[in-house]
């Protein structure tokens, strides 16, 4: 029910479109029934000489000049049919377009809020959930719901209206014949939904077989070197064929069942039509119904056949849609990253202080143990540590991708606890370059100015110069307009890092973090970038994470992190005097002994 509420919420502002299509659908169904009545009237009372019973029809006939006049001018009946057809067509057009508009608007709203919501979900959610699954929910599941809303919903409504109206009309003409029709309706619906249930299970099995076939081909193609190097072509062909055969056989089997389903469906429908004709003939011969009524009955019955048969399928789709909707709403119900009541936006050109920080992720292994240190404003602070030492976690905590638990220490900037600072404000003021930076599939220019769209080309060139990436960019055929990731253009790890650095410099933040982001750049370029940064007027607090001593040694303070604990802290001069991790690495990197 919750999910339906979410759905209704997204319909805000255009619910009336759904209403319109419901109304015109009803109107259309209604006219669909009047047309056979007109035919009936024409055949019975105009062409034959049946007496008109209904006073409404008598009045109508008189309005058009009486029966004899119409007999001489039978085109009036034809015209009536055409007019009804025109109304049907208009209804159909309005129904289809308003339904399409309504469902497309609805899906757009759902897609947009899914996207927005996913962006705003906490980083920890992104780590836990697999990209493929999320994408599937955002695309195939949304598509499933869309299909239902744009076609099956109206179909369902139409079918119900059709059954209801036709039964009313039929009963008004003849009870016995109506009962025959009435008995067949539930039989056909139950039969088709049961069969549809069986078939959809088999569809699932066949889909799985297709998945395996897909895998067999995919693994062969991606592992083509291994296949060739071991000379296993024959083996692979046999493996693929086995899957291929399984898949094809399953479908053939499914097809046989489908044949039975259709055949039996045709049989039941045929029997129903036969029963109506048989009983109708007897009734007509006894004079209980007129010829026109008989014809109208036959055509009502024919109109019911297909919608009733597809009813079972629609019910099956409905249950699938419910599953999909649920999968979508599961994402939408996840809580977003939210700011607490305190939304401070203090000046962040201040000292940063980590005080007794403890942290662990969900799996409960402590990542950081009692970490305390201060980063003075406008200084360069360096962190050295191995894989898993917790250095990246420190930075995740600093820009609040994760928050510290209560009583596990504090992080303050200028004495304000960062928990009280507005998240977006905090992040906007901390520039960060990651080791494997993510570039968007846009032009290089757009990537650099992504956080500052109004930047001029001079500014972009300027920051590219600082990041030492101008030459590389200009070497691309399209220069700054090269689209990242487009076929044939691949940026090396070092180029990506430098573009990301340019992107960060353009942000012009009071705090800059380089999380191992010079690793793929050679030492010379690394030094040039650091020199350029030093020359800049509005200098920021800089945090450098690296393995390279030359990168770290000129920093004002160096923190050595070992398995979540502070192993040492001090300036380069301090640290090389002690016999610790830093000194060891320094020796290795400076006094090469081969």
């Amino acid at each position: 029910m919750d999910n339906i509420k979410i759905l209704l919420l997204h319909m805000k502002g255009f619910k009336y479109l759904f209403l319109i299509s419901f109304i015109v659908t009803t109107l259309r169904v209604f006219i669909n029934f009047i047309t056979p009545q007109v035919i009936r009237f024409t055949v019975d009372s105009i062409i034959s000489e049946e007496i008109i019973k209904s006073s409404l029809v008598i009045n109508l006939t008189n309005y058009f000049g009486g029966r004899n006049y119409i007999r001489e001018n039978i085109w009036i009946c034809a015209l009536a049919i055409i007019i009804l057809a025109i109304i049907t067509c208009i209804c159909d057009y309005i129904g289809r377009t308003s339904n399409a508009k309504a469902s497309e608007k609805l899906m757009k709203s759902i897609r947009n809020s899914l996207y927005e919501h996913i962006q705003k979900l906490p980083y920890s959610w992104h780590i836990k959930n697999q990209t493929g699954d999320t994408i599937q929910r955002s695309t195939s599941d949304v598509e499933m719901v869309r299909n239902f809303m744009s076609s099956q919903l109206m179909e369902l409504f139409r079918t119900i209206m059709l059954i209801v109206i036709s039964l009313i009309l039929m009963f008004s003409m003849n009870y016995l014949l109506s009962l025959i029709v009435l008995i067949f309706v539930p039989i056909i619906i139950i039969y088709s939904s049961i069969f549809y249930g069986i078939l959809s299970k088999q569809f699932l099995v066949a889909d799985e077989a297709e998945g395996q076939l897909f895998n067999a081909a995919q693994e062969n193609l991606t592992g083509v070197r291994v296949v060739r190097a071991f000379g296993r072509e024959k083996y692979e062909i046999e493996k693929f064929n086995k899957r291929n055969k399984e898949f094809s056989d399953l479908w053939v089997k499914l097809g046989y069942k489908l044949g039975i389903y259709w055949g039996v469906g045709d049989l039941v429908t045929g029997l129903q039509i036969m029963a109506v004709i048989y009983v109708g003939v007897i009734q007509a011969s006894k004079g209980i119904i007129t010829l026109g009524e008989f014809l109208a009955f036959v055509s009502y019955n024919a109109m019911l056949t297909w919608p009733v048969r597809s009813f079972g399928r629609i019910l099956g789709e409905l249950s699938k849609t419910k599953v999909s909707l649920n999968r979508i709403c599961e994402i939408l119900k996840e809580p977003e990253e939210k700011d607490e009541i305190n939304n401070e936006t203090p000046d962040l050109s201040q000292d940063i202080e980590f005080k007794n920080v403890n942290f662990k992720y969900d799996n409960n292994t402590p990542i950081l143990k009692d970490i305390s240190f201060t980063i003075k404003y406008k200084t360069t602070f360096a962190i050295l540590g191995g894989t898993g030492s917790g250095k990246t976690t420190l930075m995740h905590l600093l820009n609040r991708l994760y928050d510290l638990s209560e009583g596990e220490g504090t992080i303050t900037i200028g004495n304000v606890n960062i928990k009280n600072i507005k998240r977006n404000y905090l992040r906007k003021n901390i520039g960060m370059v990651l080791q494997e930076p993510f570039l968007f599939s846009k032009t290089i220019k757009d990537n650099i100015k992504i956080a500052k769209p109004e930047a001029s080309i001079e500014e972009i060139r300027n920051v590219s110069d600082v990041a030492q990436v101008t030459k590389s960019i200009e070497n691309f055929e399209k220069g700054y307009d090269t689209i990242v990731g487009e076929r044939g253009v691949t940026l090396s790890g070092g180029q990506k890092q430098r573009v990301a650095i340019a992107r960060m410099i353009l942000q012009n933040t009071p705090i800059m973090v380089f999380d191992d982001s010079l690793s793929a750049v050679d030492s010379e370029t690394d030094a040039k970038i650091r020199n350029e940064l030093k020359k800049r007027k509005n200098k920021s607090t800089t945090i450098l994470i690296s393995h390279r001593i030359t990168t770290l040694m000129e920093s004002d303070m160096i923190l050595v992190l070992d398995k979540g604990e502070i192993a040492d802290i001090g300036t380069h001069e301090d640290l090389i005097k002690k016999d610790g991790i830093y000194k060891n690495i320094y020796d290795v990197q400076m006094n090469l002994s081969i």
């Binding site: 047309t35 035919i39 055949v43 105009i46 039978i74 034809a78 049919i81 049907t88 067509c89 208009i90 057009y93 289809r96 377009t97 399409a100 608007k105 899906m107 897609r111 996207y115 962006q119 980083y123 990209t131 994408i135 297709e210 897909f214 693994e219 193609l221 991606t222 592992g223 070197r225 071991f230 000379g231 296993r232 062909i237 693929f240 064929n241 898949f247 053939v252 499914l254 097809g255 046989y256 045709d266 045929g270 029997l271 004709i277 003939v281 007509a284 011969s285 014809l295 991708l401 977006n424 992040r427 906007k428 993510f438 393995h547 060891n584 690495i585 290795v588 990197q589 090469l592 081969i594």
Partner: protein, 606 residues
Amino acid sequence: MEEEIKEIKSFDIKVWLKLRKFFKQYLSQLIGIVAFMLISAFIDVALPLFQSYAVDNFIVNNSTEGLNKFAILYFLVISLQVITVYIFVRLAITVEMRLGYDLRQSIFMHLQSLSLSYYNTTPVGYIMSRVLSDTNKIGSMIAWGLVDVIWSIAYVIGVFIAMMILNYKLALLIIVSIPLMVIITMFFQKRMLIESRNLRKINSKMTGDFNEGITGARTSKTLVIEHLNLKEFKKSTNDLEFTSIKLARLNAVFIPIIVFFGSATTAIVLARGGYLAMNDLMKLGTLSAFISYAIGIFEPIQQLARIFSEVISLQANIERVTEILEKEPLIKDSEQVLEKYGDNINPKKENWEEIKGDIEFRNVTFKYPDGDEEILNNFNLFIPAGTNVAIVGETGAGKSTLVNLACRFYEPTEGQVFIDGKDYRERSQLWLHSNIGYVLQNPHLFSGTIKENIRYGNLNASDAEIEKAAKIVSVDEIIKKLEFGYDSQVGEGGDKLSTGEKQLISIARAILANPKIFVLDEATSSIDTQTETHLQEGINYLLKGRTSFIIAHRLSTIKKADLILAVRNGKVVEQGTHLQLINKKGYYYNLYTKQYEEEKTFEVLK
């Protein structure tokens, strides 16, 4: 998946004939489909006649005489129809799936013979969509398209004949409207096809947007650009909405027009037929049958028009499939070689010579088929059997070129490669490949059990031999600790195992192959010390007495090598032993010191 723009072309029989040999096998089934569809259409035409008979003979005459006979006949016709439906569905699904099966099998077999250069330049997704979706589409269109076409044509013709018999003047009145209807359907069909292609394109862009939004979430958060991303995403969803509604509108115009045609025809029949009936020129039953026909004929005509445009668009799928089937492999064994040594599928192993493992590059010049730079120029190198060659260089320097040539994944543009003193082109590819063991940096495992994966190295190996190979790399203990031991599933691409475990298993696989030539692309990823030791033991075992190429990253491997080749920008710039090259103080010296620095740093930080 990749989606190129398919132009709407006119019908070209040549394209279809390319699949002649595939169609031929199902000729009898296809004829069966035609026959049963004719029966089915005939019955569908006949059914309204029953109704008209009932009106004229029972109702108008006010008699029920012969009603039971009538009912029995009606029932028999329905039963015949049911049987017909059942049989044609069986035939059609059989043709659909078997034809698809044959096509997939042929493409897959052909793919196994295409050269690696093809795979290097063609994305996997591109090939996959041809192997799976195009073949499916061809199978289903051939089978069900035929069903629909035959039924529609037969039904339309049948109805005409029936109408002509009943009253030819009234029939001609209906016929006149048909060409107009076909033109309208074709007109809309073409536009709808274009819009649905646009829709697919926008949809795949949106999937891409979602992908980027999710994988780039951390970056977006740190840059605080969520709102900008959303703004761009909304462009896609707006496009999607616009195009979807456009398509729906086309439909909303098209379908009512068709419906209107049906009604208009009914009106004409009613007016004209009513006049005739009143003047006793036509029976009432005939009129009712005519009305049924007039309503029923438009659906099949519309269907025909729809199928024709689908058939034409199927041509593009056929072209995509035949393009792969017609692709010539770059590396082919000559006729004489095939005769003596057999092909990949049916090797003649009795004629295979024992391999020793001498490899010689003689005056080899090479450039990649898709590149224009000569990577090797008149390159000469003799590698005696049992030599351990280390290839070093920066990422992307082209270290695998020599391996590709030695393994005959590529052939030299000029010059020759000799194995045991004989040009390798004088022997079959499979002969060489059966004597190679290959371990990749990112080991590729196939989904299946661990046992199956190790056995890949030697399909005839016994379980005991598999365990022995696993013991050599000490992966035996790890495997036995798993719930199902050697029968544990490795998952898709081996993702249920750690990288280290995958590496150990891929080495066991190579050990089992007992190759004379061994290629190793050494991993750089840091794995735990114990796995590292096991890995080294396994590799050392493999190195003994075999000619080997190692794309080396570890100092220990490099230093031990009998011969080091330093590669830069694809070219061998220095070659010699470790000591020779160190003393030279050239490119190798720089590479080595850098590597040394890195390795030691990580050692300290561990």
